[in-house]
Symmetry: C2
Subunit: 451 residues, 2 copies
Amino acid sequence: MERTLIGELGKHVGETVSISGWVDVRRDQGKMVFFDFRDRSGKVQGVVLPASPAMEASKEIRGEYAVRVQGTVNKRPEKNVQAERQNGDIELEITALEILAEAAPLPFDMSLTGFNLDLTTQLDHRALALRHPRLQAIFKVQSVIIDSFREFMKSQDFFEFQAPAITPAVAEGGAEVFEVNYFDKKAYLSQSPQLYKQIVMSAFERVFSVNKIFRAEPSATTRHLTEVVSLDAELAFIDSWTDVRDVSEETVRWILRKVERQCADELKLLGTTLPVMIEKTPTVSLTEAQEKIFAKTGRDVRGEKDLNPEDERSLCEIIKEETGSDFVYVYGYPTRKKPFYVYPNPEHPEFNEGMDLLCRGVEWLSGGRRINDYNQLMTHVKEWGMDPEKISMFLEAFRYGVPPEGGFAFGAERMTMQMLELKNVREASMFPRDMNRIDTLITKPEDEILP
Amino acid sequence: MERTLIGELGKHVGETVSISGWVDVRRDQGKMVFFDFRDRSGKVQGVVLPASPAMEASKEIRGEYAVRVQGTVNKRPEKNVQAERQNGDIELEITALEILAEAAPLPFDMSLTGFNLDLTTQLDHRALALRHPRLQAIFKVQSVIIDSFREFMKSQDFFEFQAPAITPAVAEGGAEVFEVNYFDKKAYLSQSPQLYKQIVMSAFERVFSVNKIFRAEPSATTRHLTEVVSLDAELAFIDSWTDVRDVSEETVRWILRKVERQCADELKLLGTTLPVMIEKTPTVSLTEAQEKIFAKTGRDVRGEKDLNPEDERSLCEIIKEETGSDFVYVYGYPTRKKPFYVYPNPEHPEFNEGMDLLCRGVEWLSGGRRINDYNQLMTHVKEWGMDPEKISMFLEAFRYGVPPEGGFAFGAERMTMQMLELKNVREASMFPRDMNRIDTLITKPEDEILP
């Protein structure tokens, strides 16, 4: 008999069907055995009645067995209907149970309510833990974030390219880079597709990529991973950095809308409410932000080169109170505190046209206008003490007519973490890598720092 | 004035518009200057008439300048219409020309007909070469291949996940792996997401990923890169390896159809015809393939463990002649010649249920059924001499009920190369990496081997 997906069973009331899936829960009531079965489309309850030929098999089967089940789809009596659950109005009366694969006894409770593992145990049993509804919900949301980013980019004529992971020299120095033994020469893992996306923008005008980046972050915090998915965009022919801001704002708005629509069940399960993006996200300069913080809290951070975490939280609270927006753009950072390619404000060149999007007290996305003039770029390369030889391919692009341009980027794991208000970014990575762990622990257990 | 995209100009005949783009070609006829302008939406011809206020600027502007152009969209007289070209029936009468960014003199001819660079020169000037229509066409096709893969996967309920690039130990040994200095410990760059996709499949049933893989291939051939994009799929609850074959066939069919529809201009420009996929792609076992080759060519390769390149070409020719199909599946390779996870045929365990899809004499895609039974897997792990500790996370998945399953994979660059009949896979990678080159040459020029 052909397989019916569990999510389709409601259309087959009164019929005999065959489903395939995993045993989510088994409840043995002696005379009758109840199961919840799970496949990619959802869950359904099944029952083995005393006279069922499946009774013998039902005694043997445990949680996470993979099974093929034959049975009749029955409407539940009104009093047993669980309206809020998928298939809560039906039940499968089981006539045959075939074991496709056995499962060892589970090392911990996999039920939604029973699942309260510390992160270390979750990671020690990653393969199994990925079957849990909470983890499935997190990665469902993450896949929607990534996919809706691409979808919006394509709708705006952005061209997708593949940024490389292996790079030659490290342009800006920096210790936080992984070295690769490349045929007995040195190569490095990319910390950002920034220069590549600017090159490809110079040829395709509007570009985006979804690619891995790597940071040899030698500390274990709740916010850092050594390998993350970077979502990047870059566009030419802008009139101002505010064009970049506007595209990034509509990108985030699109993602939020998609997550809201496609992940309603997941958000409910995770107990999260999405942040509020009002019609026009407020924008303040760093200086204005510092004035606001001083006026509201009395903390005088005016003249500081950046916002610290406390400032970011204060600013978000102030903006929320003033406008109802959970989001706020901050622009105009000190030019010398940012990378060489960020565009200085022509009227106040000590401040640049880089920007950050903050939400609920933390940064969600960064971007801004870049220098497009070759001579200005070369001046910065010198002032920043960089070796032009190491970025010769990048510089070549700018020798041949690059119009005003800018772009933005954000990390998939961090956005997942922040959107779902997770406490640790490791929860937002299927196979998180840090200094202690690559799937399994690589340090001695007593040396592991798990924040 | 608001920018109009070049591709939209046909809707604005008789109107004054502003376009932004690059100077594709400039033809100075003394009294008049003609330009072809290019933006992300296409090309259009513009003309500066003798009395135009833009005449002075038009004398200064060269190829690849980024410009903003104001002008009137005129219908061309019937005799000047070039029906086969985009905007061949209109012309922009230029009234103002603003330089957004200057371009240095071009180091080589960038026109379609004039462009005949050797690959080394193309790679030495990658940033500029990416603007050429031939390269733009190649990467447009590649982006459609990747995007249509994802699109088809999603339409079939496959869940997208992110496979890691950094991996702990190398499960199967093998010299062709890059070592990473990971906080003074050893880590490696992933050669395949195989084990990860099987883990994620065990939790999400049907999964796919688009991720980088790395091979430290110490030889320079026309078919090898050290970093490529791997497109991977894996699905549970199959009845037979033929279910995997069927999904992979429909995936390739979908991709071909999308490329045909969305890249008609690019295929024409590149002078390529897509291969023919008939309603049901022929499938032969390795043994049958060898019999066919013997019968047709007289070359006796019966009993060989694999098809060599000549065999692959012969088989494709034979199948084409017999059925009209450019594609053919080959299955049933010797079990011990393939990785430990490939499923042995239960009736003839010396042959497995792995498969390859060949087209036009080369392999396009590989896959097959995998071992899903934990005990059988452990037996293979021992027989293949592997250390189960190094794949403990993978093995854990199979302890908890994994039904019959399989999957397939192909490389984006190689499929692009083969679909477009390119001679060298480097042409199908935007930033190709090999033992001689990571953007720039890393070996001495005299040591470079460019096949």
